[in-house]
């Protein structure tokens, strides 16, 4: 289709990073593409620098010890990946939960990297941030990746109305969906969103057979919230897909949220109780990670 071809040349998406070989972003060995930008703001986010787009405030520029950041002629902050030593000074400093280390890439540029990895991988996973903010870009990318004989997975927070985008799902093997909170009030606190769309997607994706796995983070000491979420998910997915019970880990969590969620990680036995509960409720493929 000529129009999509033109799209792939013109349109670019902000890519935070591409991991060539990942063993934790879906089954087998996968190339994982992390897009910048997320509509949610989750308290336990481990990589908050992927939430917002850089506003070019420039606070990080003079602090970069490697001289990898500068202003361009238009006053925008630009990043030199060749000079960068990945010390993370910029993202630690950023008051906006953003990162200057983002590359705007075309579908073809991302594809070039995937083609290199293709002999060694099972497929790709788009993640973020929230990758569905780049749904058109992803659809285009997936179309090409499927032609390489590789599978495409979407790692999503569920904010996107998947029902309205059959083209995206056509080329995707499925969605790995985060369900962080089942109750509206708790969801608003935890992820800054009532979460209605997430729960809608849970049912929709399950019904059309595109739910690859669901993940819930178990927080220490939040018995009621944990149970409500796990119960909701388990009753809705049954044995349709994997259910990953993730232990809360304070690593990378922002200071202000550490005060609320605590600095202790969820212990394995505690998380295990919720995996057992999920299995009792019919989610036979529930397990702790």
């Amino acid at each position: 289709m000529p129009s999509t071809g033109a799209y792939s040349i013109m349109k670019k998406a902000p890519v935070n990073k591409i991991i060539q070989f990942s063993n934790v972003d879906g089954p087998g060995n996968r190339t994982a593409i992390f897009f910048q930008g997320c509509p949610f703001n989750c308290m336990f986010c481990h990589n908050p620098e992927t939430i917002h787009m850089c506003s070019s405030c420039g606070l990080c520029v003079s602090k970069c010890p490697a001289g990898a950041l500068a202003f361009d002629e238009g006053g925008k902050v630009v990043w030199d990946s060749g000079k960068c030593v990945q010390c993370d000074t910029c993202i630690k400093l950023c008051p906006h939960d953003a990162s200057p280390r983002v590359t705007w890439m075309s579908v073809e540029e991302v594809l070039q990297q995937i083609r290199r990895c293709a002999p060694y991988i099972d497929g790709i996973t788009c993640s973020g941030g929230e990758c569905t903010l780049r749904s058109e870009f992803m659809t285009e990318l997936f179309r090409e990746v499927v032609r390489l004989g590789k599978t495409c997975l979407i790692d999503s927070n569920g904010s996107y109305d998947f029902e309205k985008d059959p083209a995206l799902l056509e080329f995707s093997q499925g969605v790995m969906l985060d369900v962080k909170a089942a109750e509206r009030s708790w969801s608003e606190k935890l992820i800054s969103d009532p979460g209605d769309m997430v729960l809608k997607n849970l049912d929709y994706l399950k019904n059309i057979g595109k739910l690859y796995e669901v993940r819930t983070v178990i927080l220490p000491g939040r018995d009621t919230e944990n149970e409500n979420t796990v119960r909701y998910v388990a009753e809705h997915i049954g044995d349709a897909c994997f259910y990953k019970i993730i232990r809360y880990r304070p690593f990378g969590v922002r200071e202000r949220f550490l005060k609320i969620l605590g600095e202790e990680e969820t212990d394995e036995a505690y998380a295990g109780r919720y995996a057992s509960l999920a299995r009792e409720l019919g989610a036979s493929k529930a397990y702790v990670v």
């Binding site: 060539q20 070989f21 990942s22 063993n23 972003d25 990589n47 002999p119």
Partner: protein
């Protein structure tokens, strides 16, 4: 203090290790095998290395007996009849192994154990077969106390192969080294995955590119010692090595190196090999009287010489004036291209050389990317490997390897260290192995970061055994001391870890 006294007073040597050290000392008292002055000069400079093979070879370096023949007709000299059941089969092998010489005096090739033993194993109850094979592996580990002792399995799945993997994982032994001969059409994913799981737990088996080896050696090839490809019923006469970094030190430019210094050193190494091969065949008694030869378990025409190289990375970096290894060979296209040019020249010159004997290979020697020895330190990386500590991403490392592995029929390989999460996701490793072998990788080894049994450069050691030596205690395995040296001098256990980056938990 005399060298002999040093040996017999060394508290870290076992009795057998003392005996072997004294034998080497004794051998060094003869100098009837002489080389040119230029050869000795290059050796003194460290540009050539004979791997301490000893000055008076009394056996080929590596011997790969035809164990199928042993099982078919028995062995007259050892008074062994063909085995009729599993117990007899392992007993025959255990006895025979003790009479297979090598440079280390231990057998470097134990046979294709699954193929050899499968007919006997399937006649037995599985639990009984496992018990017998467990004792067999224990015998090998305690009697053949050297990590260059190597057994092969595959390409097909088998009951014996599965039991050997289970035992390997359960017993956590450094000996024997183990290789799966991997063929995408003959090796099932399920069996390959079982091998990956075992590799993560015990650093073995490694994966050999079966099709590549078959195209060079035919179906009857062995993976012996570290990762040496050789003929079954034959072996390798000798393995000296060019230390390419030192070879380059007098070169004025890359062109000068390729036109002048490299050919000069190649020819000196060929001189060494020719003389040594002739001596082994014509002077020593091995090919005249050893029962392995007289009863046909090996044939002299199936032996070849292994032309070794090390330090290609450092050689290229030196010639291009690259001081920061992070920007050198493996990460730098110009340096890697120079490496290919150098390897092509070595390949061309060695293949033009008419070697004595080596009849089965058109009187030619075959190239080998030697894994390094403890005394190499950081000057010469193993074979054509990217130096430890500056490895790029795993993908980039594989791509570089794939360019060089086809040069080395007598063996090369690289080692990848995986982070702990991979123990739960072995299926994430198999596509990497399959993809790289399909793209020209010859030999893939891996191990998990925190294991006790680890792969040093090509051989396996137990970290706990290295600690014994550090405490001035004895280690049964002859090779532990090399592991300690490689760890100290070459940082051989500090290779890049393939890890999962923090990517979930949004």
């Amino acid at each position: 203090m005399s060298d002999a006294l040093n040996i017999i007073q060394d508290p870290t040597l076992t009795y057998k290790q003392e005996l072997l050290a004294l034998a080497r000392l004794g051998e060094s008292t003869d100098d009837s095998l002489r080389y040119s002055d230029e050869y000795y000069e290059a050796k003194r400079k460290g540009a050539l290395c004979d791997l301490n093979e000893g000055v008076m070879p009394y056996r080929p370096r590596y011997i790969c007996p035809d164990y199928e023949l042993l099982f078919k007709k028995g062995c007259e000299f050892l008074q062994l009849d063909p085995p009729k059941d599993l117990l007899e089969a392992v007993n025959v092998l255990e006895i025979f192994y003790c009479h297979v010489p090598s440079i280390t005096s231990f057998p470097v090739y134990l046979g294709d154990l699954d193929k050899l033993l499968e007919p006997f194993v399937i006649k037995e109850d599985r639990a009984y077969a496992k018990k017998v094979l467990g004792l067999f592996l224990r015998n090998i580990d305690r009697v053949q106390t050297d990590s260059f002792v190597h057994a092969d399995i595959g390409p097909e799945d088998s009951v014996t192969g599965r039991i050997l993997l289970e035992l390997t994982e359960e017993m956590q032994l450094a000996v024997p080294n183990l290789t799966l001969r991997y063929d995408p059409e003959r090796t099932s994913d399920d069996f390959a995955l079982a091998c990956v799981k075992c590799m993560l737990k015990t650093a073995k088996p490694s994966f050999a590119n079966h099709r590549m080896f078959v195209s060079e050696w035919g179906e009857k090839y062995a993976i012996a010692s570290c990762y040496n490809g050789l003929s079954i019923g034959g072996g390798g006469f000798t393995l000296p090595r060019l230390r390419l970094y030192e070879c380059a030190l007098d070169a004025k430019s890359p062109d000068d190196f390729i036109e002048r210094e490299l050919p000069r050193h190649i020819d000196l190494q060929l001189e060494y090999m020719d003389k040594r091969v002739k001596f082994i065949v014509e002077q020593s008694s091995f090919f005249k009287t050893n029962f392995l030869v007289t009863e046909g378990f090996v044939k002299q025409e199936n032996f070849t010489g292994m032309f070794g190289v090390v330090g290609l990375a450092e050689c290229c970096n030196y010639l291009l004036g690259i001081e920061d290894k992070k920007k050198g060979f493996g990460m730098n296209r110009e340096a890697t291209e120079l490496g290919i040019r150098i390897m092509k020249e070595i390949d061309r010159r060695v293949s033009e050389h008419e070697a004595p004997y080596c009849d089965a290979y058109g009187h030619r020697y075959r190239l080998h990317a030697q894994v390094g020895i403890d005394s190499d330190g950081m000057d010469d990386s193993p074979g054509t490997r990217i130096p430890i500590g500056v490895e790029p991403t795993m993908l980039e490392q594989l791509e570089v390897n794939e360019k060089f592995h086809p040069f080395f029929p007598t063996g090369t390989g690289d080692i990848f260290k995986f982070e702990e999460t991979y123990i739960k996701t072995p299926e994430a490793i198999l596509p990497i192995i399959k993809g790289s072998l399909a793209n020209g990788l010859r030999y893939f080894s891996g191990y998990l970061e925190n294991n006790d049994v680890v792969r040093v450069t090509g051989y396996l050691v137990k970290k706990s055994e290295i600690e014994k030596l550090r405490a001035k205690k004895q280690s049964l395995n002859n090779v532990t001391v090399f592991g300690m040296g490689a760890q100290d001098g070459g940082h051989a256990l500090d290779r890049r870890v393939q890890h999962h980056e923090e990517s979930s938990g949004k």
